[in-house]
């Protein structure tokens, strides 16, 4: 008697799990489609290289310098017009 009930319950658990399984894998398929449409499979070389580039390049310092330079450069012609 007891064993019959437990089998019955466990079978229903399988149905439940199967549905959940289908939903979870379905979620991954949707994620995959989204990734493909977003173009993630278009270039399989540069992302791997890009991650290795240093972020703190002279670029940052440079940018500041340049902004200063630019300011002075931009001002000059204005002055001359005046």
């Amino acid at each position: 008697m007891f064993s019959k009930i437990s089998i019955y319950i466990s079978l229903h658990a399988i149905v439940f799990l199967i549905i959940i399984g289908a939903i979870v894998t379905g979620g991954f398929v949707i994620a995959f489609i989204w990734a493909v449409k977003g173009g993630q499979y278009e270039d399989d070389y540069s992302p791997a290289v890009r991650i290795l580039f240093d972020d703190d390049l002279p670029e940052k310092k440079d940018k500041e310098n340049k902004e200063e330079k630019k300011d002075t450069e931009e001002e000059k012609p204005v002055n001359s017009i005046k």
């Binding site: 149905v15 894998t25 995959f32 270039d43 290289v49 890009r50 290795l52 002279p58």
Partner: protein
Amino acid sequence: MEPVKCIHCGEDCGKHPVMWDGKPFCCNGCKTVYQILNEKDLSQYYKIAPMSGIKVDTSSAGNKYAYLDDKELKSKILDFSDGGISKVRMFIPAIHCSSCIWLLENLNTLEPGIIHSSVNFVKKEVFITYNEEKTSLRRIAELLESIHYIPEISLEKNEENKKSQKDILIKIGIAGFSFMNIMLYNFPEYLPGSQQLEGFLKDFFGWMSFILVLPVVFYCSNDYFLSAFKNLKKGIINIDLPIALGITTLFLQSSWMIFTGTGIGYMDSLTGLVFFLLIGKWYQNKTYQALSFERTYKSFFPVAVTKVKESEENVVALSDIAPNDHILIRNHELIPTDSVLVKGNGNIDYSFVTGESLPVIKKEGDVLFAGGRQIGSSIELEVTKSVDQSNLTQLWNQYQTKAESEDGIESVVNKVSQYFTIVILLVAVAAGTFWLFRDPSKAIFAFTSVLIIACPCALALTLPFTFGSTMRWFGRSGFYLKQSSVVERLSKTDTIVFDKTGTITYSAEMDTEWKGEKLSGEEMGMIRSVSMHSAHPVSRAITNDIPDKIIYPVEKFKEIPGMGITAEVKGIKVNIGSEEFITGKTTRSEAVSTIVFVNINNQIKGYFVIHNKYREGMEQVINSLSENYELHLISGDNDSEKERLLPVFRDKTRLHFNQSPEDKFRYIKRLKSEGHKVLMVGDGLNDAGALNESDVGISIADDIFQFSPACDAILKSGKFKNLNGFMTFTRKAMWVVFASFTISFLYNVVGLSFAVGGNLSPIIAAILMPISSVSVVAFATLNISLLAKHYKTGK
């Protein structure tokens, strides 16, 4: 001593490197790029991948990109613009390493107006977002050119291929998802004691697999149904018909079983089949996205041209040029349409159009045809025809009529599948009728079982994987095929037709041979000192071939177009030029420019004979090819090389000189009508028609991204010596195909014996079908990689 290598491009610097910042450079161009990068603290470029810079030989005119200021043209090139911020995608063939990615993504350091730039390495594109107020498209293009990443700008965009690759990936994802889940549902069926499984669970599994199979049948496999239907309408049975038939019967039979509650059906086999087929298709379609095999004359011509009106120069789009307009053509620029020379000295290189390797001299009033390239000072032309009416473009368009036989009706797999389909249908009907009399309950089941098990999955997978692997291996070796079906067409070739200039010879290099008195070292130095001042290809060949590097100062240098050059070295007069120029008479009927006389101090010393320089290994390639193929040569050039080529090609009747593009086209057509399978090997516009007409057209290119006309395959010029190896390889690949076919037939015999007997259970289908597919795929790919290895070590 180790040769000094250029810090920028890694090339040998020679004896006198250009030094800057204590570092050696091979040329000023490389030094300039280093200076630009160093100034902006971008010298890390040289650390990521050392010596990876790009060397550029010719610098172009300053206003090459002036047309990018033209609003209308710009709007065609830009992807997006709202007036303030614009986005553009530029194709830069030179992208080749991680340093390139790093530099191009840090472009805003060089040009602050650039907001963001990102690289797509596979497509060799850079995507730039910039501020219109701070910079312009023209400045960006000029910046890229200044650091030797020369963008190739064209008004046509081709997005189709990418789209279909995306679709196929999505289809694979969905089919894989269904396959995986349905396998799980069917699994209990295959265990002993599955009969005791609760009835409601069986129904539940059946229903689940029915739901999951729907997207596979109606979305993932729609290409097979469409193709089978299309070909059937044309009266052709191709490989997709038995596939579509198999999928349909699998689906109907299984649905019937599920709905009547008699079983779970063959849904796992169905989804697995579609999954494997799609992978095969994807593998086969993975081609070279950055290469273009579909070039038309439009990509050959420039986008814009300089128009002259009342002594005012304007850069306008090519399509805006009308007859009677005056245009300006600068050094190394292309003549876009038929026109008349109005001002200046024309020195036109027609090598792309006619194959003639030496420039032609044109005087004012002469007619110039489209496709020529001006070498020397600028010339002014009056246009006589609009661009798409010029002789060249008309010739080109005329060839584009080649019927699209993309599916290759005569392809091996389609031939086999014709018989296959008929035989399978006969077997199915026979089995059905047999059981109708024996045991009517089994008749329909036996009929469908035959169709299910005989589904030509393995057959359909053979070609994609064999040819796909072959294509990949070829690609790694510098031989790029447009589609995998080219492998099969190559293997059937029995006749090879070569173009001469640029194909078996180098297009720009020439050999010289001295005939006459023996020259002293001083005299040779004098000749070289004079010839190095001229840009004419013959002068350059002479300069290159004289080993003496002493340079004397040259005075009173004068170049007379079409005749020769004259100058004084240390007070001694040196004349170099045509026979007429030096001796005052012409005795030879051959083209004058192949013989160059030298006169020093009013004494005729002798003459140089100018030969085309043959590609490395040309004779070996031709000799080894002549064992298996009939070889022909058609050239637009004069026949001065006939004597040298005759021993190589053996037969006089197969050597043809002075052939126009039209003649070449007709020649191929004639060979084809005689029943030959023709491979044409050419290089440029002049054989575009012939390349198109032949069964397989291979174009040889120094730079595989540029100037290759419409063709089936592109061969890197350095790999020309391997041509015979590639050809042999395609024939071996065909053997692998036949062996795989045999294996898949054996599987079918086993499967059919079950099916005809009327006892094909889902478990047998579930085991047999994937095994046959996987083993055939493994057999094909393994064999090809073994062959490739053998070929590599065998060399």
